[in-house]
Structure formats: structure tokens, C-alpha cells
Symmetry: C2
Subunit: 385 residues, 2 copies
Amino acid sequence: MKKYLNLILLLLATSGAFGFAQTSQPAIIEDFKPSTLNQPGKEYPMVNSQGYVRFRIQAPLAQSVTVSLGLGGRGGTKLTKAADSTWVGTTEGPMDEGFHYYHLNIDGGIFNDPGALNFYGSIRWESGIEIPAHDQDFYALKDVPHGNVQQILFPSKSTGTSRRAFVYTPPSYYKDQNKRYPVLYLQHGWGEDETAWSNQGHANLILDNLIAEGKIKPFIIVMTYGMTNEVKFGKIREFDIKPFQTVLVNELIPFVDANFQTISDQKHRAMAGLSMGGMETKTITLANLDKFAYIGLFSGGTFSMEDVNNTPGFKEKVKLTFVSFGSRELENRRAGFGGGDPKVNAEALKQANINSVFYVSPETAHEFLSWRRSLREFAPLLFKD
Amino acid sequence: MKKYLNLILLLLATSGAFGFAQTSQPAIIEDFKPSTLNQPGKEYPMVNSQGYVRFRIQAPLAQSVTVSLGLGGRGGTKLTKAADSTWVGTTEGPMDEGFHYYHLNIDGGIFNDPGALNFYGSIRWESGIEIPAHDQDFYALKDVPHGNVQQILFPSKSTGTSRRAFVYTPPSYYKDQNKRYPVLYLQHGWGEDETAWSNQGHANLILDNLIAEGKIKPFIIVMTYGMTNEVKFGKIREFDIKPFQTVLVNELIPFVDANFQTISDQKHRAMAGLSMGGMETKTITLANLDKFAYIGLFSGGTFSMEDVNNTPGFKEKVKLTFVSFGSRELENRRAGFGGGDPKVNAEALKQANINSVFYVSPETAHEFLSWRRSLREFAPLLFKD
């Protein structure tokens, strides 16, 4: 477990949204448009067709305004004061496609960009921006039947509170009250919460679109908060999985099975998570193979033959292991992986006749486009029996 | 309609969160605690038992930091730089109980307080703070059965998009798939959106608690965005109700009736709204009395005998008119009301044998505690037939 936590810390430390090519940058094309994640009516931040981001901030009396988005470890993007007293600037190079968290530093304090919507990450509501991806169609809001995402409050005796989860029910759910569905429990990463997979991940739209294209059979997704203790920076090593395991396995799963049209046997239940959520997924599923048949780790670890051999019943009970990373994560950490090279591991499992899938998201880092794509790849492999 | 819009503008202009007594303020009691609406783990802003709010902002190089919360029209609360370079300050007097929007002005720019959660109001995500109310129990998260709030995306041909709504289903909803429920369509105010009644209003918790106490029969609430055009400050006079009426009446209601366990006749459908949402409610219900039987205007207008006499079928079809205001709104506007004095109007309707209820929320302004209480008072009066 300790080794695993160190891996997650390494992932966090070596990740980053900063996929600049090392060569000289192309000339900036002046076709900037408001980011799709701007607050209603806000012009800035803007994104151009190459993935450059331009910022404009009102703070006429400020001494300095910088944006965390831009060059990893090199202080982000420094804005300069324009003639009209606004602070303006453009990232030094194009950003990776997909979603990025960011914030402003104004006179030494951290604030959000008033132009952008906020998303929970880094244990705070951060500003968010979206660089349109060439394959964004798979998570676009389209004119197809839509499932619903609903907030539930479930009783948790072990933590003495009502806890919140979000439940995605597929479009057909309300049409036929006798139909029952498999369930995927889907976990966010460290510093995020149960809002992440809908807001940043578009899990609901990904499922809507896969269902509309006939690529998957409909299933339910349940997303809840993956921690039970107060979260602070640098305290991840103190994280204890057991209280959350109790919440998930003993409280949430029975509540969902009692209140939704689920198929409640092991063969129709999956769990997946990103980053820290992958760590949680691995630990909880391996300790509860009577409850989960399909397991996905998105940028959050790997399954080795050691895991298989140390877990009684693994070969009989596990119907799928799915492990994915963003390509930039693999580039960054080529020298070694906690738990071994994930591609080599996945191949070893396949040789041992375990249904093992390994996926690499092209040109993305430890960020949500990697995880949206991972869900798109993972979903069609689920609930085959 | 024009007169009505002017009333709303007047309400917006004369409202405010600034219920200071005009006499000298009591000594500040040093029992400040983190606001219940702070982001996880954040200490500031803090609130004391008298309703004073204390702020602390990190921005060591800033020239000036003020908070919009505090004295209406007098520049809010000016923070001063402490020895540790943080900016600190306390409101000059106690704030009214309940929820208040606010923001920071840092060196001439508007930003949110990084310590507080954000809520959509004033057509931006604003910081929010909660002054514990003496009657907060009715909207508290308690150990009672909870209904769900779910996001739906419904097709809207008239606007060419999928539009979002939130649907509250009561706790019993999933237990009996043959049971059907009445529906309340509940609208937010100007500058807010479909998230307001859950996030700021706690409509779901208010219903959960009323149901648990046996004070109401369960019903469904539907909350959607009440505008179809781009919203800008000062443009409320250009607002045209017709496109939204088409969305609500021709698109959303049929979608909800097709996809939820509703009783879809006129006698089991209500509409209410706050501020601008009250204006919308009045206009849409009076034009569609074949669809709505119960009508609530929360700080958003009044029903006069002129309305009754000018609307064919009013007396036969309307089962309830409910009009409410915060007491400070009435104090502020004692000289006159657009549409006449709401209390006098309500009394006139009663005299004409119309089921007319008038409610005043004690010591609150044009703010969410007025509207939470209005919903608490309104809900038990609904769906009596």
C-alpha cells in the first residue's frame, strides 16, 4: 500500500498540463474564441485553433498578475499591463488538448479567473479551461437521448452523516421500470470530489453517446466522494482506505441496490477510478472480489502477476482488468514504475489468460482528457456475460 | 408587463443584504467560526454568534482589498493589512440571518473569496456566506429519508439545444413505481440559474423535512433556466417571456410528464418563482390556466383584483395565489408598490372568495432566506384536491 501511495505521489509530481514541444513555437494564429468553459457572457479566457490560451484580467492597481497555466515549473504565464489597465497575456506555447485546471496569482494571493467556470480539484474550486480536442465529438452534448445525473444523499452510519453521491441513469431508465442495469462505481482523483466525473469528465455524455451509437449496453454509474477524513496537501500518505471501503461496500452499494433498478450480483458490478481513485479501486476490488468483476485503473496503478498470485480467486472472479495512462505520463516516467511497467504487466496477465487491456491516451498527461478517453475505451468492455 | 418589469428593477435596486440596525452596534463577541459555506478545510470567512462576518485574504502585494458584503451603498467592508501581510476585516455590524452573495474587490478587480464556495447569482459565480438563522432547522440536512435532485437534459426544438433542468423526486419515489406525484415548477431570480433553488435555496432539504414531519404530501419539483437569451446587466427591460414560455409549457412539461411518474392534469401542477421568476410565474400561469392551478410569487409581484377580472376563468381555475416578501422589502418600499400594496391586494382576493395567502418573512430582505421560508409556507398549501 505504501509503495502504491508513493506511485500516486510520483504521478502527481511528474504530471502536469504542460505539453509543450521542446522545439520553437509556431507563429500565433489570431483566431482566438472564448473558452467553452467561460461563465455566461464572458469573453476571456480565449483559446485559438492551435491551443494557445489568452487571458485578460481586470485589476488596474495590481502589482503583478500571473496565471498558473503555461510552463510547468517555470511560473506559468506572466501577464502584462495593457494601455487600458487590464492585464493580458498568452501562453508561451499551445496547450495539450482537453481540460486543464488553473488559477491566478494576484499580488501574491491565489484567486480564480472571474471569466471561467470553477471545477473542484487540488482541494479547491479551481478555474477550468478546455482546449478543443480533435476527438471531442465523443463527449459532446448531442441531439441524442440523454440519461440523467442525480444527486442522492445516502445514510452512512459509519461516518455519522448523510453522504452525497451522483448517479447516472441511462436514457432508457425511466421508460421501462422492469428493466434492470449493471452498475459501475467510478472514483475521482486526489483533491477532487464526486462532482468531477460529471463536470470535468462528462461521464454522462460519454455514456449517452456510446449508447446512442449502439456501442455499449446501458449501465448505471455511481460517483461518490472517495475520502472520509479531512484532506490536506501533503497528507496523502496518511490516507487510510478502510473507512471509505466501509462507506462504499457496506453502505452505498446496498443503498443503490435498494433504490435503483440494478442487477446486484458480482458479474454486473464494476469499479474504476482515476489516479488516487485507481489506487482505491485496486485495493477495494481485490479485497472484495465477491462484489466486483470488472476493474479499471486510469492513470492510477497497474496489475502485476504478483497481484494475481497474491489474491485468492483472482483468475476465476475477475472478468477484466483495464489499465490506462496518458502518453505523456509514460514519457515522463520511462525510467520505472511503481508496481512495474504497466504495459509489460498487462501483457503478462494476458499470457496468463486474464482478460487484460492496456490503453494509452495519445498526447495527454495526468489530466481529464486521458480519463474521458479511458472511460470511452473501458465502457464497451464491461458486462459481457 | 412593462410596469411589472419596473417593479422587479425597483426590487433589485432597493433590496440588499444590509440589514443593519441604525442604532449603535453591540460589542463584538469573539466566538467566530468558519462559515458553513466555506470550501473544504478553509478557516475564513468566519461568522460569529451575532452575525458579524470576519474576512482574511492572502494578497501581500495588493494596494486595497474590500468585500462587497457589509454596508449597502457604502462600499462594503474595507480590509486592512495585518502584521502577517494578510488582509483582514470584520463587517461593521451583524448581517441578516441567511444566505448572502458577495465578492472581493482587489486592486480594482472583482474576484471571489478563495475561502468560500461559489453560487450563481448576478450572472456570475459569486462567493456565498451563510449567517446561521434561528429557524435554520427547517432546511438542515437531517437524518431523514432524502429525495434526489437529478439533472435532466431535455430536447428543445424552439431553441435548438438540449436544455438543462433539475428535478427533485421525493424519498418515496423509487419505492413504488406505480405511485404518481403532482409537480411544482420553481423558478430562480434574475442573474441566477437552475442551480439556485438547490444550492442556495435547499429546496430539496426543505421538502425532505416537510415530508418527514408529515406536513405535506410528497411532490416533484422541476427547476430550469428561466431565460433563453443572453443576459446582460441593465438589459432586463428587453426580456421577452415568450421564448421561455414555449420552452417551459411546450417542451419541458411534456418531457417531464413523459419521463417521470407525474399526475399530469391542471389540478396537480403548480408554478412559483422568486423575483424575476415570480414575474415569469405570473405571466405564464395567467396565460395557461388550463395547465396550472397553484401559483406562488416570492418577492416577485402581487395579484390584484384587476388581474383576476382581466383573466377569464381565474376564479374557477386558480386554487391558490400565494404572495410573499421579506419584511425589509416592505419596509424599504412602504411608499408604494408596482401593482399595488401586496397585502391589500391579497386581502381583496380573499374577500372575493379566492384562496389567497400573503406571507412576510421576518427580518429578511430580497434574499434566499425569504424564499426558503416562502417555499416552506407555500408547500403545505399545494395539491389539496
